[in-house]
């Protein structure tokens, strides 16, 4: 009687998982949701590479719980709606957890659904504070903008000695808007002045009018919290002869950013979670291994840490039950990441250092590292 019941349960499981599940019985399916098409595709490729690198590394060492990890890659088409649709598809495909997304707008669209479906999600680098507020299944391995924005504001005020900063923000990007808001809040709180916040939209590549408008306020610093399109802004600012110092956030250092104009920056600053120059054993070791497969960028380490942290949690959970995995992720204590140790607070955010980078003649280097107190 009991054996009959077991057969029944097995059959039910088979049917509910569908036929691919039969072949994947010894696989752990993990989703990577990022952009393969649209404006974020070039930038997100750097993160896909890091995820693939992590999965390959684990699989080549025998996998997890005796199973191979299967990375299912989903294209979110660089839009919020399709990020949610991709998450729906991933859940339908039976993934145990989701890695991604990168851009905050995409993570914000996915998180409520994954929370509702109780599928753990770890974003490598979505810094918008609201991402992890979606619920207890949502985590990230990077710092958040309320911290980053404050660091940037203090840096502009104290290190760059800026009295007036003009902000140029992308109104289609939750990341850009939030980082701009927090920067402005902190910068004006310390006595700085933000005479103007200028808006642009996704897909824009000509910023001449915007920069001319910015120049009229005669700012000491131009704060540009954008993604790789910020490369156009900085190049055009230099072409217009704008003297203001140029400052950006952690979404700058994509290859595409440098190609768009970052490589021509005479002097500029940005914040990042990690850089290959970071002088730790773990980091040096990672760079040595990673550069054999892919080009190392500022975005190589965070996805690697996110993936490795997830695999570590699955190992500790010892099961593929999403609740158990979530509990194991939440219980993570001083995970030894490439970007530094990771522990989660009760929201799902880690406490991370912020690295301030200086770009001189198109070459970035670590300027200072700020540790939260």
């Amino acid at each position: 009687m009991q054996s009959l019941l077991i057969v029944f349960v097995c059959l039910a499981a088979l049917f509910s998982a569908g036929f691919p599940a039969v072949a994947a019985a010894d696989e752990i399916k993990v989703a990577a949701i990022l952009a393969k098409t649209g404006e974020a595709a070039e930038d997100n490729l750097e993160l896909f590479e890091a995820f693939r690198f992590a999965v390959n590394e684990v699989n080549s060492k025998g996998g997890l719980l005796g199973k191979k990890i299967k990375l299912l890659e989903y294209d979110n088409h660089s839009t919020p709606i399709q990020s949610k649709l991709a998450a729906k598809q991933a859940v339908k495909d039976g993934v145990v957890a989701v890695l991604g997304a990168s851009w905050s707008s995409h993570s914000l669209a996915m998180a409520p659904y994954l929370q509702q479906m109780k599928v753990p999600m770890i974003s490598p680098d979505s810094t918008h504070p609201d991402v992890t507020l979606a619920g207890d299944y949502i985590f990230r391995v990077c710092f958040i903008d309320s911290f980053q924005g404050k660091i940037l504001a203090m840096f502009a005020k104290n290190d760059l000695k800026a009295a007036a900063t003009v902000i140029i923000q992308n109104i289609n990007s939750d990341y850009s808007l939030e980082l701009a808001r927090i920067f402005k809040q902190n910068f004006t709180a310390t006595g700085g002045e933000v005479p103007a916040v200028l808006n642009y939209t996704s897909g824009q590549s000509d910023f001449t009018d915007l920069l001319k408008a910015a120049e009229e306020f005669n700012p000491d610093v131009l704060f540009i919290p954008g993604h790789s399109e910020s490369g156009y802004v900085v190049r055009q600012a230099q072409e217009l002869g704008i003297k203001a110092k140029i400052l950006g956030g952690d979404a700058w250092p994509y290859r595409q950013f440098y190609a768009n104009g970052g490589q021509d920056i005479k002097e500029g600053y940005y914040t990042t979670l990690w850089n290959k120059e970071l002088d730790t054993d773990k980091s040096r070791d990672f760079v040595a291994r990673y550069k054999k497969v892919y080009e190392v960028t500022d975005f190589s380490a965070a996805p690697y840490d996110a993936a490795m942290l997830l695999f570590d949690a699955i190992k500790r959970a010892g099961s593929l039950d999403s609740g158990a995995i979530r509990d194991a992720i939440a219980a993570t204590k001083d995970f030894d990441g490439v970007t530094g140790p990771i522990s989660f607070d009760n929201i799902g955010d880690p406490v991370k250092k912020v690295i301030v980078m200086k770009i001189t003649q198109g070459r970035p280097s670590i300027f200072k590292i700020i540790t939260p107190n």
């Binding site: 709606i81 109104i171 289609n172 808006n199």
Partner: protein
């Protein structure tokens, strides 16, 4: 001026009524046409707006989905640059207002409306800020997902202006045509019917005035007939047609002729066609009145055929009648136009000679006597007449004057006949 009972008033009133009815029918046709045209125009606007929605649905959908209010505002500001779009409001998937170009529009969509809007659109006409708008509400569909809604107020003012222009132009046209046709029909009515009628009336009045003139009744009648003939040419509105007015005029003419014939008939002696005793009495009375009024004079001449009984006895009554007719011819030819000869009775004739005194009357009588004496009367021997002339004197009466003439005639008969005597 225009009597309500007049033909002109009634005909014009009928024309006006007919034209009003025709104008009304055209007005209704115009209204139906304009309603169709407007409905088509509204359908076109709806089509354009739903195309606009699908063109922007991906971008809008993502901005609505991600609550990118600034981006929505920018997109909406771009769309607002289009003419006629007055308001755009974007709602999230629960129908809550996300962004509106009008800060007062903060009303969320009702559940009923959202249920009706699933994957489609609705539009209604309404008044907003004192102008007519098309309230277009559509679901925003991105990647097959109903992610939100948006509302557009599209101004119908240009459409209404067009309607007003079309109605004004066509109403002016219809009214002008109606008025023109009215004027035309009126002028045709005036020219063909009323003017001849008025002319006929004026002619009759004129003829009536002639009738009141002094002078011989038959002459006045002649004149009346002549006057009528003069006018009757003008009475025919369209030459060469036998229209009713011409027939009417002709009937009047016939009547005048009949009247004249009747009048002349009772005052004419049937055999001689000379004035009869009745007519002579009338003229005598008339001349009496005249001389009394203007202090003039006139004479009368009484003549009798000598031995007329013998002519009858010898040659028969027919020959006698012929003599009387011949005598009438002589009398008609040998007096002035104003003199009135007439048969007094039997073989006796009376001639009234206005404005002539007794002596001049006698001279004329003598000339006529010779004329008769020398004239041949076929079938009979020579004929002679005896004349008695009397002139009016103040204080005479008609009776007294005739008595004088009679006495003179008696004297002429007694004196041997074929002679003129006067009193």
């Amino acid at each position: 001026m225009l009597n309500r009972k007049s033909l002109r008033y009634r005909i014009n009133f009928t024309i006006a009524l007919t034209l009003t009815a025709v104008a009304l029918i055209f007005g209704i046709a115009l209204t139906i046409y304009e309603t169709h045209r407007r409905n088509d125009a509204v359908l076109e606007i709806e089509l354009a707006l739903s195309q606009l929605t699908s063109r922007h649905s991906e971008q809008l959908g993502n901005d609505i989905f991600a609550s990118h209010t600034l981006a929505l505002k920018a997109t909406m500001a771009e769309i607002m640059k289009r003419k006629s779009i007055l308001l755009i409001t974007a709602y999230d998937e629960h129908g809550k207002v996300l962004v509106s170009t009008d800060k007062d529009t903060q009303k969320d969509l009702s559940h009923e409306l959202m249920a009706a809007l699933q994957l489609t659109f609705m539009s209604t006409k309404k008044s907003w800020n004192n102008q007519s708008v098309l309230d277009f509400t559509s679901s925003v569909i991105a990647y097959g997902e109903n992610v939100g809604f948006w509302k557009i107020y599209y101004s119908l003012v240009p459409l209404e202006k067009e309607t007003r222009e079309i109605l004004f132009i066509f109403a002016t046209l219809i009214l002008s045509i109606a008025i023109l046709i009215g004027i035309l029909l009126n002028s045709v009515l005036m020219r063909i019917v009323l003017n001849p009628v008025y002319l006929l009336r004026n002619t009759m009045q004129h003829i009536e005035e002639i009738g009141r003139e002094t002078g011989s009744g038959s002459k006045r009648l002649d004149k009346m007939v002549q006057e009528f003939d003069k006018f009757s040419d003008d009475l025919v509105p369209l030459k060469g047609t036998d229209n009713e007015i011409a027939l009417l005029a002709s009937a009047f003419q016939q009547m005048l002729f009949a009247l004249k014939n009747a009048y002349v008939g009772i005052r004419t002696d049937g055999l001689t066609q000379l004035n009869n005793r009745l007519r002579l009495d009338e003229v005598l009375r008339y001349e009496f009145e005249r001389v009394k009024k203007y202090d003039g004079t006139f004479s009368i001449m009484l003549l009798d055929i000598d031995h007329f009984k013998k002519v009858n006895d010898t040659y028969g009554h027919l020959a006698g009648d012929e003599v009387l007719k011949k005598m009438a011819d002589v009398l008609k030819k040998n007096f002035r136009e104003i003199d009135i000869p007439g048969r007094w009775g039997g073989e006796e004739f009376l001639v009234i000679l206005p404005q002539l005194d007794r002596l001049r009357a006698c001279r004329i009588a003598e000339r006529v006597r010779v004329e008769i004496e020398t004239k041949e009367f076929p079938g009979v021997d020579s004929i002679t007449c005896s004349f008695g002339v009397a002139g009016y004197r103040a204080g005479d009466t008609i009776k007294n004057l005739i008595k004088k003439a009679d006495d003179a005639l008696y004297k002429a008969k007694a004196g041997g006949r074929n002679r003129v005597e006067k009193r």
